[in-house]
């Protein structure tokens, strides 16, 4: 193609007012121009913004596009020529093969569909306990603190083997480096504090193994440092992503009352509803890759060393892939969303997340038949767009006593 591609000059810092579920208008507009746009990184380095479903999927499936941390560039801040170190041992999200597999392989057997289904009953219990507490303290609650955060937090902590009494303190630290608003100094303190805690936890599991994933992993050739990195990834992913899906998903259902009513009336809709909420909300919204060699993509040449920002939320709203993509339709049949990614880095915990949501959403709706927002929708505070995971900071709800 000889035509010059559409160019995007900066990643949008906010969504359109009144559209908390839709990708920022600039990204949807970019998709309208074509599935990939030119993107110039701060400091003038040329790159790409990939917004179309097919191209995002093919980049994710192609290991000529690297996930290595040391090759990443911040999409909006110019750090000059500062050298980014490779991902620390165990933090396999930002690694390529074969390093990535060393850490991921021992974990895949622990997150199978079958194993996660066995947790259903426990997740139902945890959910019921959260709802009991919410009901007793209400009417009126912040759904984020009463429901969305505690359920996935308890589940991932139990799975990994974090003792109950330790949970509160370090959960807050993990949240603080995910919320997109924590200042640099505080961020470093939270990260260091979490690392110190996890180092102690690994040592404790080595000394006294218990029945959990981390203890199982001590029975391998993984070092303490590697186990700490793995734990950090699992906790960050397990604490923040599902929590945001639960809160933002509830917000989306409350804003689509006929969809909410359908889910309440038809429990068998739950599996499909979860997939549709994942597609519609795409809370993990952008990831990055770096071309390791020249690659032809979508009729253009991505040069070795160029970075690509992959926009999952526009890919999941791609009109060439999904009919009426901006409509939340819990009965939608066309699966294959990219909310968990694709390729070798596809979300390790996706089967856990599915079960948590499949249990939690219907339980919430059934417990509170009159659940509604306690503030006008435009007053629900959103996370800043530059946070890695999209969501609401709080979700004030109420119900009839």
């Amino acid at each position: 193609m000889g035509d010059s591609p559409h160019t995007v000059t900066t990643m949008p810092a906010a969504r359109r007012p009144g559209c908390p579920f839709d990708p920022p208008a600039e990204l949807t507009e970019a998709r309208g121009h074509g599935p990939m746009s030119r993107y110039t990184f701060p400091g003038g380095k040329p790159g790409w913004l990939v917004t179309g479903y097919d191209l995002v999927r093919s980049v994710l499936a192609d290991q000529r596009f690297s996930s290595r941390k040391e090759l990443m560039l911040h999409p909006t801040l110019d750090y000059g020529d500062i050298e980014v170190p490779p991902a620390p041992p165990g933090e396999f999200l930002l690694m390529d093969e074969p390093r990535h597999s060393r850490y991921r392989k021992p974990l895949t057997g622990k997150f199978t569909v079958r194993r996660m289904r066995l947790l259903t009953e426990r997740i139902e219990q945890v959910t019921a306990e959260s709802l009991d507490a919410m009901e007793q303290a209400g009417p009126g609650a912040d759904l984020v603190t009463a429901f969305a955060k505690p359920i996935p937090a308890i589940v991932i902590c139990e799975l990994l083997g974090v003792p109950y009494q330790d949970r509160g303190s370090f959960q807050e630290q993990v949240y603080s480096f995910m919320d997109g608003e924590t200042g640099d100094e505080e961020l470093i303190a939270a990260y260091t504090g979490t690392q110190e805690y996890l180092a102690q936890l690994v040592a404790a599991k080595r000394a006294n193994p218990t029945d959990d994933v981390l203890s199982d992993l001590t029975d391998s050739d993984l070092t303490d440092e590697e186990l700490r990195g793995i734990s950090l990834i699992l906790l960050a992913a397990g604490l923040d992503t599902t929590a945001n899906m639960l809160a933002l998903g509830t917000f989306a259902l409350l804003r689509n009352p006929e969809q909410l009513a359908a889910l309440r009336a038809e429990p068998e809709l739950a599996d499909r509803a979860v997939e549709e909420l994942l597609r519609y909300l795409s809370v993990a919204k952008t990831f990055m890759r770096t071309a390791l060699e020249d690659v032809e993509l979508g009729g253009r040449t991505v040069r070795a060393g160029e970075r690509l920002i992959l926009s999952y939320n526009t890919a999941n709203r791609d009109p060439e892939r999904f009919a009426d993509p901006h409509v939340l339709d819990l009965r939608r049949q066309d699966g294959g969303h990219l909310a968990f990614g694709h390729g070798i880095h596809q979300c390790l915990g996706q089967q856990l997340a599915r079960i948590e949501m499949r249990v939690a959403f219907p339980a919430l709706l059934n417990r509170f038949p009159t659940l509604r927002l306690a503030v006008p929708p435009e007053e629900v505070p959103l996370r800043p767009e530059l946070a890695d995971i999209h969501g609401v900071k709080s979700l004030p709800v109420t119900w009839d006593a």
Binding site: T108, G109, V113, G341, G343, Q351
Partner: protein, 66 residues
């Protein structure tokens, strides 16, 4: 029709077991795909085709019997 899984490509995502549970399971140790029914019944073929599409490692093939 015959289903095969390329073990080298399988990443153990479980998408096949989720989508076509009567044809696929996962190895309890490493999570990789286990084909329960290499020649799936007619009524399972749509689900198997969906699993082929969804597989994040492009590890599943569905081919005509020879």
């Amino acid at each position: 029709m015959r289903v095969t899984v390329d073990a080298e490509r399988c990443i153990g995502s479980g998408m096949c077991a989720l989508t076509a549970g009567e044809v696929f399971d996962q190895d309890p140790e490493d999570g990789t795909s286990v084909v329960l029914r290499p020649e799936p019944p007619e009524e399972a073929l749509d689900a198997v085709r969906a699993a082929v599409q969804l597989c994040p490692g492009a590890a599943i093939s569905l081919s005509a019997d020879r």
